[in-house]
Amino acid sequence: MKDLVLSWLDERYKLSSFLEWARHKTVPVHRWTIFYYTGGVCLFLFLVQIATGILLLMYYRVGAESSYESVRFITSQVEFGWLMRSVHSWAANLLIFFVLAHMFSIFVMRSYRSPRELSWVTGCFLLGLMMAFGFSGYLLPWNELAYFATKVGTDIVGQLPVAGGWLLKLVRGGEEVTGATLSRFFGLHVAILPAAATCLIGVHLLFVQVQGMSHGEDAKAHMPFFPNFVLRDLALWLVALNVICVLAVFFPWELGLKADALKSAPAGIKPEWYFLSQYQLLKVMPARILLVPGELWGIFLFGAAGGAVLLLPFWDSLIRARGKERWLDVLGWGALAATAALTVWGHLS
């Protein structure tokens, strides 16, 4: 029966050619091979987000009068609702962590170099999308922390010269963070970002497939992609799922207090860990530097750093041409150390 179904499908969709391709695809084996798995973990965590996000949508009701109440209903009344929400929150944080780890491993291996420049660029855009997912999803429970995080985050957009005011209104759906902002963020979080991320992940994987994995030419050994690499990947996905479940059970995500537009920001308010370095930088910036407000310098610094990371494959060749390969390591590890130090400082202060 199985053979009959397979041959029926093969006749129509040429399955055998796909299996033939999978049989011949190999993965280079060398001392950095373990880094190849970070990409797979990112994909898995994204799938977890899609699945738990769809489940949360069954009960979530967007609106200033219903968002907080519906999330409270999910976590306190719906069976395993607390688990779904906690898995969604933990997987979101781990996803950002693994995207960063994946990118840094690519940097260490110099895998972004020609001909893989666009794989790096699409990866950077994916990081941006994941952070946008985090930022937009953070507001959806409509709690105190989310409200002020959104006020600050969107105000940063409003500080931009020329189009700032216009962009602020566009993002907030008005002058202030209100139910209109919540509706916009909801649409962004459940429709626009998933569609954009799915397309971009498809393009990113297509590039990897067309060009093959990096360092294939230097590796002395190769392992078959199917089943060897795929099974290892799946085993790691299982480990990741277990880790998320343990975190969700022992450290469930708190809901906090409902957002109140007439309440001061509470003491100790801080953003998620992946925005802590930017937060700390904005905090220590002087009020004005050369007559320009400190936050504008901060925004300029974030933009410049983001641009430098995005265009790394293109300016990297200039450094290589001068034989200053070590500068790259100093820059990369220095940037990582500075970001980590600002993050820890932001957490402790």
């Binding site: 006020k151 001061s264 920001a265 905090k283 002087p286 004005r288």
Partner: protein
């Protein structure tokens, strides 16, 4: 000399740009929320002054703007815009500091609204506040 092909290509380009504009413009206009022309109030009555505790602050909505009303320990009233001039958080009165403080990035203002520490680049606007027949009345912005 413009060939027929070049002319048609140019026309096609202009037509495509026009078509794109006619699609993008309404979408952008749609995304921008309509302006609400709500009249700003001149005053806001906040109830009996004596009921307001000393050494505390509370935020009220004055038209579209949140205003922080402060009553110091010696009984004096101050009213300041409650929105931090740094990045839009809502500030609070700290009795222990005898100052207005923003929890988001640690900005500090004195009771006249002047930015005295941290990242805020500008002072908070001051509002008129007076006691009329025992009732607190908030007036328009002074600064």
């Amino acid at each position: 000399m413009i060939t027929r092909r070049k002319f048609l290509n140019a026309m096609l380009g202009v037509g495509t740009a026009g078509w794109l504009g006619s699609v993008v413009y309404p979408v952008l206009r749609y995304l921008l929320p309509p302006e609400t022309t709500e009249a700003e109030p001149d005053t806001l009555s906040l109830g009996p002054a004596e009921q307001f505790p000393r050494g505390a602050g509370k935020i009220f909505k004055f038209g579209k703007r949140p205003v922080l009303l402060i009553r110091t320990k010696d009984g004096a009233f101050h009213a300041l815009a409650a929105t931090c001039t740094h990045l839009d958080c809502l500030v609070q009165y700290r009795d222990d500091m005898d100052a207005v403080w923003c929890a988001c990035h640690g900005g500090k203002y004195d009771l006249a609204g002047r930015n005295i520490a941290g990242p805020p680049p500008k002072p908070l606007a001051q509002f008129a506040v007076k006691v009329v027949d025992g009732n607190l009345v908030l007036g328009g912005a002074l600064t």
